[in-house]
């Protein structure tokens, strides 16, 4: 127990909330921006400090536990208020169930030995690092973004102060959630993130935004109910803390918590809220998708994974994850809306994390944590890039991103870095995917789903990267003007992505392997799993660096040395229009000029969204029901 640690812990949770409150009441834009920046700096500094500090447990006084309970009731009441506000009886019902359960549990007594209310261990340190760093960067980015957004946002939009309040507060809540061990605090932060996401998604207050916000709170409060039920069931067995549930291996309680996790992580069939969340301003999408909201689910499950080794529940979680991965990868193929593709990809990757967590081996666990980290950074970067691109070209459609490389070279290169990190072998995402497949070797169904999913992901990433790098020849490139906050955040994130990506193998070897070993201490691991785990940690680093370096050096040398006089118009069957500025113009009927255009492959007749979604949801629902049946709840 260290005072500084406690303070840091308090700061990383309460700090953002206090800043948020200050921001809410600030009239001046400049001051507000400074406050946001301050919040970001403070949070990230504290986050890094916590991540770097040794593991610690915080045993609070009993009043802290009561405060948690009180706050949870407040949050539940807020949900009820929202339910009244949007006239949703379902949300009202969920809120009421929660309220009743929370109040009842107030009068029950848990285990006598009260554990720590807040825990700083490997997993929570990783999570705090992600939330604080990526979240803070998104905060900074949103300064520039909102300045522009204010101009063309609909008149109905809430004030930027409100926006910032919830955005900054969100990070505090998220930090609280990943550090909390006490189920009351957990529930309280869980609800807080739900409420924040509701407000942020509905920020523009257009009809569509309102609808999607309502859907988000509906689905998430369902998740809240699941969590409360889980906590209540745990309480019946005497545990008031998450660690207690794990200690007792209380599988029934945990199954509900896992359900809450699946809802928060927008796994099939609960994915629709996350897709709807795309209407929000981009920082919100970025925050929800990369650093915060969706990670709650995987966090809850990951924390429990070593405690439930070998249970059917974990097996089903792995299958749900793998199925979500395969289904969303297929769905993403038919999308031309860039943000939606990213959204599907997020769901898919979270599914993969669930799969890894459910596989029950240190290899899977390490893959899951690695995936979590790399996904947060890369996806955050990609969303921010998307926002920048969207504000510039006014479209989210992949097909409209044709000559981005010329119009906004810097952002495009950064976007490419982000995409490359999702696709190129030694970078983090692919390394984790590789680990995931190796880890999944013991369960064939999961394996097949992951294999299919990862093959499908290639299709939309390749399509998108291809479209973005499409340029006609131009001797010069435009100099890009974007606000400094956006630019610097993109640059920082891209640097993080590159460094982390290049060092992925090292990071894995030196960090994630240890975490996994610590997490699985004392559990039974099969010989073959152990062998794989050891082998994975020993992959050589230098061939990758040597050949990628070689390609880059040779390619870049060639890039700058080829003579512009060697540029030829594309092959258009000989009917190019000479002297046209658009090299892809051809002469056709009546000798008039037409633009040759080749749109990307969407396979809509196969992966049509509504139909595929319907079937996938159905199957996913069946899997979830069978999960409950398998552990004997149903």
């Amino acid at each position: 127990m260290n005072d500084i640690n406690t303070l840091a812990l308090l700061g990383v949770i309460a700090g953002p909330v206090i800043f948020a409150a200050a921001i809410y009441f600030t009239k001046q834009t400049k001051l507000r921006n400074i406050l946001v920046l301050g919040a970001a700096l403070l949070t990230s500094a504290l986050g890094i400090f916590i991540a770097a500090s040794p593991s610690a447990n915080v045993y609070p006084d009993s009043w802290v536990v009561y405060a948690g309970a009180g706050l949870e009731i407040v949050m539940t009441l807020a949900v009820l208020a929202i339910a009244y506000n949007i006239r949703s009886w379902a949300v009202g019902l969920f809120g009421t169930i929660q309220l009743v359960l929370v109040v009842i549990s107030e009068f029950m007594h848990g285990e006598s030995s009260i554990g720590p209310a807040f825990v700083v261990d490997d997993l929570s340190r990783v999570m705090v690092a992600i939330v604080s760093v990526v979240g803070s960067l998104i905060l900074v980015y949103s300064i520039g973004y909102m300045k522009e957004h204010e101009h063309h946002a609909p008149a109905t939009a809430r004030s930027t102060n409100t926006f910032m309040f919830f955005l900054v507060g969100f990070i505090g809540a998220m930090n609280g959630l990943v550090l909390a061990n006490d189920m009351k605090w957990l529930g309280c932060f869980f609800e807080a993130t739900t409420i924040c996401s509701f407000v942020l998604i509905g920020h523009d207050r257009t009809r569509e935004a309102a609808k999607n916000a309502a859907r988000a709170i509906l689905i998430n409060s369902f998740g809240g109910v699941a969590l409360t039920i889980g906590a209540f069931l745990a309480l019946l067995k005497g545990s008031t803390q998450y660690s207690g549930i794990l200690y007792h291996a209380d599988i029934i309680a945990f199954s509900f918590i896992a359900l809450a996790g699946l809802v928060k992580s927008a796994q099939m069939p609960f994915q629709s809220w996350l897709l709807g969340a795309m209407v929000a301003p981009t920082p919100v999408s970025a925050l929800l998708h990369s650093a915060t909201m969706v990670n709650i689910g995987v966090y809850l499950v990951l924390r429990a994974a070593p405690a439930f080794v070998g249970t059917k529940l974990m097996y089903f979680i792995a299958i749900i994850g793998a199925f979500s991965f395969a289904a969303t990868s297929a769905l993403a193929i038919a999308q031309s809306n860039g943000k939606k593709v990213l959204a599907y990809s997020t769901i898919g990757n979270l599914g993969l994390i669930f799969t890894c967590a459910g596989i029950d081996s240190p290899l899977g666990y390490s893959a899951a944590i690695m995936l979590l980290c790399f996904h947060a950074v890369s996806k955050g970067l990609l969303f921010l890039c998307m926002g920048t691109i969207e504000q510039k070209i006014g479209s989210r459609d992949i097909e409209d991103m044709g000559s981005l490389l010329r119009e906004m070279p810097l952002t495009t290169v950064i976007t490419l870095i982000g995409m490359a990190s999702m696709l190129v072998p030694p970078f983090g995402m692919l390394l984790s995917k590789w680990l995931a497949i190796e880890a999944a070797i013991s369960s064939p169904i999961v394996l097949l789903l992951v294999v299919i999913g990862s093959a499908l992901t290639v299709l939309f990433w390749a399509k998108w990267i291809g479209r973005i790098t499409t340029v006609s020849y131009h001797p010069w490139y435009t100099i890009e003007r974007i606000s400094i906050s956006k630019q610097s955040v993109l640059a920082i994130l891209a640097t993080i992505v590159v460094i982390a990506g290049l060092g992925a193998i090292l990071l894995y070897r030196d960090l994630f392997v240890d975490i996994a070993i610590r997490a699985y201490q004392g559990t039974y691991i099969s010989q073959s799993d152990m062998k794989l785990f050891e082998a994975a940690g020993n992959i050589p680093y230098w061939p990758f660096m040597a050949f990628i370096g070689l390609a880059l050096v040779a390619g870049i040398l060639a890039y700058f040395t080829v003579n512009a006089s060697n540029v030829r118009a594309p092959f258009l069957c000989g009917e190019n229009v000479p002297g046209s500025t658009k090299t892809y113009e051809f002469r056709s009927v009546k000798d008039s000029s037409h633009l040759a255009w080749s749109s990307s492959l969407y396979l809509r007749h196969i992966f049509e969204e509504s139909k595929t979604t319907m079937w996938a949801n159905l199957i996913a629902a069946v899997i979830i029901l069978s999960m409950f049946a398998a552990i004997g709840v149903l």
Binding site: I437, E438, I441, I452, Y473, G555, V567, P570, L572
Partner: protein, 291 residues
């Protein structure tokens, strides 16, 4: 260490030459099967040498970058294999080599090139799962993902435990070699409906780079066939060679007795028939093993 480096250097130099000679033999035998005399066996090497001295015309600079990436990742695949590294990772590296080529075809505003790339993506989609399944099969029969363990002395020849996977691999290989029923994206022969597909906009030295990468790929593909009967000993090596030769003939006959089939047909075929075939083999192994 220095021994490894020498081994690698030899491989890096020899692999494309072997690949080129296989490609040359391929052209020669194909010609003979069509009742022609055909080109000299070293023709692919002449082609590449010629391309290297042609004018380097290009469309945009990005495509050049992708060409180099394609080659580098193909070489990396070879290196990882020689180092006896993890097969799955090697496979991913190889897939990315193909993706670079796809991106190279996509990043130009040339309709046929893009269509070729899209078809190539579909082909990647068609054969990639099969290859992953193959690697899984190798793991299940050898208990390791390491290439070095597959060829290690005393290991059991893979073909005995993976006969159906071998057939599936033959199909995947035919796609990568651009052989007839599967040559939808590009081909070494003319009269293609989409002209040359992915390599359409590459010319001169840049095309040569892609050709060299293709030689590496040819070598790799046949090396994998060899792996199916690879454990170190002379008799086994002879069988492995014979297997590779058989695969070579099979592909030429396939090329010469089939019409090109539509891309979606191929995806369906690979995902339904071949995939099922491979998974049947895998499930059989699971039954033998863990479950």
């Amino acid at each position: 260490m220095s021994e490894t480096i020498i081994k690698l250097l030899i491989a890096i130099v020899a692999a494309p030459l072997v690949g080129a000679i296989i490609a040359g033999l391929d052209r020669k035998v194909t010609a003979r099967m069509q009742g022609r005399v055909g080109p000299p066996i070293l023709q692919p090497i002449y082609d590449v040498l010629k391309l290297l001295i042609k004018q380097p015309i290009f469309l945009n600079r990005v495509q050049i970058l992708y060409a180099f990436m394609h080659l580098a990742f193909m070489m990396l695949t070879l290196v990882l294999l020689i180092l006896g590294q993890d097969l799955l990772l090697t496979l991913f590296v190889h897939a990315f080599a193909t993706i670079s080529l796809i991106l190279g075809g996509m990043c130009v505003r040339s309709p046929y090139s893009r269509i070729g790339s899209q078809r190539k993506t579909l082909m990647l989609l068609a054969y990639e799962p099969i290859l992953v399944i193959m690697v899984v099969g190798i793991y299940l029969s050898q208990g390791s993902f390491m290439a070095s363990d597959v060829v290690a002395a005393g290991a059991k020849p893979l073909l005995l435990s993976l006969p159906l996977v071998f057939i599936a691999y033959m199909m995947a290989m035919a796609i990568e070699l651009q052989k007839s029923p599967f040559d939808v994206a590009s081909s070494h022969h003319a009269h293609q409906e989409i002209v040359k597909g992915v390599t359409l906009e590459y010319a001169g030295p840049f095309l040569a780079i892609i050709e060299i990468a293709h030689f590496y790929e040819v070598f790799l593909l046949f090396a994998v066939v060899y792996f199916f009967w690879a454990p170190y000993n002379l008799a086994n090596a002879a069988v492995g060679m014979a297997l590779a030769a058989g695969a070579f003939l099979f592909h030429i006959v396939l090329d010469n007795t089939f019409a090109r089939l539509p891309a979606m047909w191929i995806v369906r075929f690979m995902w339904v028939i071949v995939f099922l075939m491979a998974t049947t083999n895998i499930i059989w192994l699971y039954r033998l093993g863990t479950i």
